[in-house]
């Protein structure tokens, strides 16, 4: 079962007073921000590793996301749950990274297609990320990741927020600033696409 975005607890297992910590952090209270960060650290990392599928990148992006949260905390008005706002900042960091990475891969792919390129040259990462190549290697994790990589960043992120983070359609719509119907459509399309690419794994 997916995780659910319930209130985090402290080391004694008691629920944290998130609004109080947010207020204090907005006033520049570093220890309060530290408590918030430690409470949500795993979730932010989980969202990012689910999006970028690389532990090292996710760790770096996680740090970047928290610095952005600190810098933008004054813009949080308290009209939504803090974790919804936090997920929004985090997914923007992840989406930005994925878009840049995809652009880099497109350039690499165009480079591979150049007629003057050596046909015996080493297989580029963009080719290795294709499901058929991963299937040849026979590693389920690679096949799954390669299938995920064929989805758009928005479809991938929406599916991850549902399947891994366990957010409802309404919560995902708030995080991604889109309509509930769009969330439903993206999840449906992502499942159909993944099923098609993973049918050989049954």
């Amino acid at each position: 079962m997916p995780k659910h975005a319930s209130n985090p607890v402290n080391t004694d297992g008691e629920p944290l007073d998130i609004p109080r910590l947010v207020n204090k952090a907005q006033a520049g209270d570093e220890p309060a921000f530290g408590e918030l960060m430690q409470a949500y650290h795993q979730r932010v990392y989980g969202v990012l590793v689910g999006m970028v599928r690389n532990a090292d990148d996710a760790r770096d992006l996680s740090q970047l996301a928290w610095i952005k949260v600190w810098n933008k905390l004054h813009t949080f008005k308290g009209d939504a749950d803090f974790y919804t706002w936090l997920y929004r900042v985090t997914t923007y960091v992840g989406l930005d990274f994925i878009r840049k990475r995809n652009r880099k891969r497109e350039i690499e792919l165009l480079d591979e297609m150049r007629p003057d390129r050596d046909a015996n040259a080493e297989v580029a990462p963009s080719v290795m990320s294709r499901p058929d190549y991963a299937a040849q290697k026979g590693e389920i994790r690679d096949v799954f990741d390669a299938a995920l990589a064929t989805l758009s960043p928005e479809h991938q992120t929406t599916l991850m927020l549902r399947e891994v983070e366990g957010l409802s359609y309404d919560e995902i719509a708030k995080v991604m600033k889109c309509r509930r119907g769009t969330v439903m459509s993206r999840i449906f399309y992502a499942r159909k696409s993944m099923q098609e690419k993973l049918k050989d794994l049954r």
């Binding site: 997916p2 399947e163 891994v164 439903m184 449906f188 099923q195 993973l198």
Partner: protein, 169 residues
């Protein structure tokens, strides 16, 4: 209900997002179309694989907070609350070096057209330029003696709005 609608509702039902009334209609359709069981199983397996493929966080929350706290303190020490990168520092040093070279080049050009001033140019080559400390923020100054006039020139380089400006006195 057609197949496509049934698949859309099945996806919503897996997420607990289908109303009870629609759920009843979907269940009736699924009972008549058992081939959709494979679809449901495949979609559930995708969710299971996604969750199983999540690596644990390599950093403890305390270690992560240590890194983030250090980063926000570094940026807090800066005038505009921005993170200073190595490139930012190099921009400043590069701009300063470029301004110095342009200034020296211009000064030599002004001196060079008159052949009778060869002695002056030779004197200029020997001119000693001294960088001195200044209390002005974001500014650097240098002092040298003008060979032609014999005056001591003080150049102050100030950094204003991302651009350098030089003032002689």
């Amino acid at each position: 209900m057609n197949r496509k609608k049934a698949e859309q509702w099945l996806s919503m039902a897996l997420d607990g997002e289908l109303s009870a009334r629609r759920r009843a209609r979907l269940d009736a359709y699924l009972a008549a179309h058992p081939e959709l069981d494979d679809l449901r199983n495949d979609w559930q397996a995708i969710g299971d694989r996604y969750r199983a493929a999540m690596p644990p966080c390599p950093q403890t929350p305390e270690a992560a907070w240590h890194d983030v706290r250090r980063a926000i303190r570094v940026q807090g020490d800066l005038p505009h609350g921005e993170i200073v990168t190595f490139q930012d520092r190099m921009k400043w040093a590069g701009a300063l070096a470029a301004a110095f070279l342009v200034m020296m080049g211009a000064w030599l050009l002004v001196q060079s057209p008159d052949p009778g001033r060869v002695g002056t140019i030779a004197a200029a080559d020997r001119t000693e330029v001294e960088w001195v400390e200044t209390d002005l923020p974001d500014a650097m100054s240098m002092v040298y003696e003008d060979a032609e006039t014999g005056l001591t020139v003080i150049w102050v380089l100030v950094h204003e709005n991302g651009e350098e400006d030089g003032h002689a006195g």
